[in-house]
Amino acid sequence: MASVLEIRDLYAGIEGQEILKGVNLTLRQGEIHALMGPNGSGKSTLAYIIMGHPHYEVYSGDILLDGESILEMAPDERARAGIFLAFQYPVAIPGVTVANFLRQAVSAVRGYTAQKDEEGPVGSNLIPMREFRKELTEAMQLVGIDPSFARRYLNDGFSGGEKKRMEILQLAMLRPKFAVLDETDSGLDIDAVRAVAEGVNRLVGPELGVLVITHYQRILNYIQPDRVHVMYDGRVVLSGGPELALQLEEKGYDWVRQQFGNAVKA
């Protein structure tokens, strides 16, 4: 049975300011959906709320994973339930190596716990080193990251493209059911976009549902979406097939504004 992630009539915001105004969207495992929309329309807000960012408030509506609400779950619980967010702006954490971080994350998501006997815990809560290293090496190869990055501090001094690739590496290692990629293409030159998209393409399949959030159409030249949604002022105002992305590219967001914007934003 394919899993389903359903956003149902979601109203949400921050500090009393409403940003999402009734979002509806259903994503199935194995599908690729694109979420497009002008800057400030609420795409990142939706991404953060799916992941459980503590700063945002949900006023009404629901987010359901296979029919169960996830709104009460902490971000780490959501991650363990199979939800992943590739950040628009990944943070750098000095002193924490990529390898160590990923070993902790993989172990947490896959539920490694220490073997216990009467004396207490023996061994560790982590995936065995050998197994982990093998997986990491393979995943790095898959998404095109030099093995030397394993020893570097997480995102510390990474270029924009390296940071985005690091997000895809995490996606590869954590094997979620649903991945939200927030502007994974932004700020990258065309070669970098292609490299990141190729990484994503190697990971898609019946086990993964992807929501590609993007401002531009160009990444969709490499990642073929099944469905395209357009967000405007906190709502999904249009949904359609891949042709919708091309239509948008052609006509621009002004067209959306004219159709759906009551108060025209600059």
């Binding site: 992941m51 902490a74 991650a79 000095p94």
Partner: protein, 457 residues
């Protein structure tokens, strides 16, 4: 534990004599102890108005509550058993050139690599050194940290017992580290470990010392480092005392021409700790790094007071102290850089960084600068802040629960200091102590990923 006479239960000149007799010392050492005792009596107790004591209170500390020394420590049999259970495990963590294990100041295990001994390296407990190498000891003992450096140093010199003596002759380079385990096993006793390290010209050595035990006790220690010209000396001091112990330390390093010293103090334990660390760069080309780590919990109070003295031209000093604070604990960092007249081309850096893991914890940093030369590069900075929410959310979004995420960030925060420890075994052992302090198995910190990268590919 039997207490034999009143003279051994109270701090007094009689107790000084009794201790010296117990240790069967030469007259000069007894004289030195008695002089120190007079200093101790003369120096007033800190009142809290002195600059160095303004933020660290001795309220609740009463010398009368402690025995100055323990006449009879563990029996041989107990010692043997202890060695098997505790010390072997500790010692095995670090492949070393020599090990020294002491309890209540008494050495009961000692090993020095034969080839190093043949080259003239001396690694022994300080009492043995007083007997066997009196000239070397007299040349160095109390020469860096004077008898009256402060009230606790004076008390230390009156009652010092146990400690490491390490001497490395000219041009001998020892690659493996030496290690000392110094314990206080008897509750309620005073401890007074003294460390001396001497490297002659062109020599190189690493010493790692672990201090632990000391339930309801107090410790007044002294460390004196004597690198020779163009030598390299690395010293790591791990303070892992019981959380009921009061700790006072005075450490001083004199760095001559072209010598290089890395001094690291990891303050994990004790109830309250006050340590003065002084780096004297006395000849051109001297270089020194002062590194510090601390992680305070509960009501712990950890105070480091450092001094970087640039007395000659073309010297560099680089200080980095990093601490994480939990609960209602508190840290004080007071640091001073002084560039003396004529000390041109000085490079002096000082940074104190604090990570507040609890809104109730408090970190005070008081940097100071005094520059009397004009061609110098000098920076200092202090920060205190909480873990950014965005770090935690990022790690949590990858499945890590909050305690794990915090631990990872704290371990990462300390990494900047560990990076400067060039001996991988010393670094790993420090990581083990960090894991202990964070209440996890070192394996669960996952730090060995980095160390093993080359083997597993």
């Amino acid at each position: 534990m039997s207490v034999k006479t009143a003279t051994t239960t109270q701090f007094s000149a009689e107790a000084v004599r009794a201790l010296s007799e117990l240790l069967d010392e030469p007259g000069w050492m007894l004289d030195l102890r008695l002089t120190a005792w007079r200093f101790f009596e003369e120096i007033p107790w800190p009142t809290g108005t002195e600059e160095t004591w303004r933020r660290t209170s001795l309220r609740g500390f009463r010398l009368e509550n402690y025995r100055p020394f323990v006449p009879d420590v563990l029996t041989e049999v107990e010692a043997e058993a202890d060695l098997e259970t505790i010390y072997r495990e500790h010692l095995a963590e670090l492949v070393s050139a020599g090990e020294l294990v002491m309890d209540e100041g008494r050495a009961f295990y000692h090993r020095l690599d034969d080839t190093l001994a043949a080259k003239g390296v001396i690694f022994t407990d300080l009492h043995t050194a007083v007997r066997e190498y009196p000239e070397l000891v007299q040349r160095t003992f109390a020469q860096q940290v004077p008898l009256d450096a402060n009230k606790f140093a004076a008390l230390h010199y009156a009652f010092w017992r146990g400690g490491t003596f390490l001497y490395v002759p000219r041009n001998v380079e020892v690659t493996l580290p030496f290690q000392t385990l110094a314990r206080l096993s008897q509750p309620g006793a005073g401890g007074f470990y003294h460390t001396i390290v001497i490297t002659e010209e062109g020599a190189s050595v690493t010493l790692m010392e672990d201090f632990f035990g000391g339930e309801r006790g107090f410790h007044a220690g002294v460390v004196e480092l004597y690198p020779g010209p163009n030598s390299r000396l690395r010293y790591t001091h791990v303070q892992n005392w019981e959380p009921t112990l009061w700790n006072f330390g005075t450490q001083r390093i004199r760095v001559p021409r072209d010598a290089e010293v890395v001094h690291l103090i990891a303050s994990w334990g004790s109830k309250l700790s006050k340590v003065w660390v002084t780096l004297d760069l006395v000849e051109p080309g001297a270089r020194g790094q002062l590194l510090g780590l601390y992680f305070t919990t509960d009501h712990q109070h950890i105070d480091h007071h450092t001094m970087q003295n640039h007395r000659a031209a073309n010297c560099s000093s680089d200080l980095l102290y990093k601490g994480a604070l939990k609960d209602t604990s508190r840290s004080v960092y007071q640091g001073y850089i002084k560039v003396w007249p004529g000390a041109q081309k000085t490079d002096a850096y000082q940074a104190n960084r604090n990570l507040l893991l609890d809104g109730r914890a408090r970190a005070d940093s008081i940097p100071g600068l005094e520059i009397e030369a004009d061609d110098v590069r000098c920076t200092h900075g202090a920060t205190a802040g909480q873990i950014p929410e965005e770090y935690l959310f990022y790690l949590e979004s990858r499945g890590l629960d909050r305690p794990t995420a915090e631990r990872l960030i704290v371990a990462g925060f300390f990494q900047e200091v560990l990076e400067r420890v060039d001996n991988a075994d010393v670094r790993r052992k420090l990581e083990t102590t960090i894991a202990e302090r964070l209440d996890v198995d070192v394996a669960d910190l996952g730090l060995e990923v980095d160390n093993n990268t080359d083997h597993n590919g």
